[in-house]
Symmetry: C2
Subunit: 158 residues, 2 copies
DNA sequence: ATATCTGCAAAGACTTTGCATGAGA
DNA sequence: TCTCATGCAAAGTCTTTGCAGATAT
């Protein structure tokens, strides 16, 4: 395996082995990038970034890897309305605190917020429990986002 | 204007006139459909349905009208992860009670739920107020969705 | 009358698929 | 060794754009 910063044995290796998936350079590189970035990266963002270190990795592999990671529950996939999916690591040491999103419908900017998450947590858990029971649904995750106009876009649309 | 069920003067006409938009057959037909349907229609769903009554209306117009309606705040646009946008009327007499979504990541089925909306409302309002202030954001709407597996998909993945 | 709206065709953007080669375990 | 994973190219989908003709006010 080629040498690169941060590539080596990691907490996710067991998850891969237990599930029978191989630990490959592209997978490590992508997980490693997600682990040290706290932005909302698109598949292409990830491709371009990973490509700097491993030029052999193709965009197709990025898409396939992200799909795998989402299915494994290691990565969250979001849609902020600009026509491309965004990805965020869901767990691990480098992960951001549990948060939700504030999306500007003017310019597409996304702000992570962590306020009220505590108060929210109880309500969310209660809702999850009830909905699981009532609709016979196995709930894995939730998404909350507020849509509106950021400071700059408010001025422009005034 | 051709004759069709439900087409005629409606509550949304003022909204159009005040904003300087014209009231046209395609716009009325699309609003009318959204008003009497409580499903999560895609642009193509809407096109096919409207097309039955007004075969002259094209898919492009459907997209353009939906964009307009979303911008006017008359329609909500959702992404349930299947690669196509879904639309729901946000207001008016035919509108469903305020609700959120439970999305099956296995088959894509979407359930509207209205439980806990009341408890949620207070938290959401408080969060909105605080986030508006802190981030100088003008919040227009919010989306909450739970992701998981529906009854059938749980059985298959067991 | 005239600025807005529409439909068609074509283009654009993101994502997925087919297939032969390459690489983990 | 022997599947699983990858890369390239091509195809597939959904959505947007250009432009001439039609329409609402």
């Amino acid at each position: 395996m080629p040498r690169g910063f941060g590539v080596g044995p990691h907490w996710w290796c067991n998850r891969f082995q237990d599930a029978g998936f191989r630990i490959t350079v592209p997978r490590q590189a992508i997980l490693d990038l997600l682990n040290r970035t706290h932005e909302h990266l698109s598949a292409e963002d990830i491709y371009l970034e990973v490509h700097k270190i491993y030029p052999a990795i193709g965009l197709t592999t990025v898409y396939r890897t992200l799909e795998l990671l989402v299915n494994m529950g290691l990565v969250f996939k979001f849609d902020f309305g600009d026509g491309r999916a965004r990805y965020e690591l869901s767990q691990g040491p480098g992960t951001l605190k549990h948060h939700h999103h504030l999306v500007c419908t003017g310019c597409g900017r996304v702000i992570d917020y962590t306020e009220f998450i505590e108060q929210e947590k109880e309500l969310v858990h209660r809702t999850e429990r009830e909905l699981s029971r009532k609709y016979n649904f196995k709930i894995d995750s939730h998404q909350i986002q507020f849509l509106g106009l950021c400071h700059n876009c408010q001025k422009e649309n005034k």
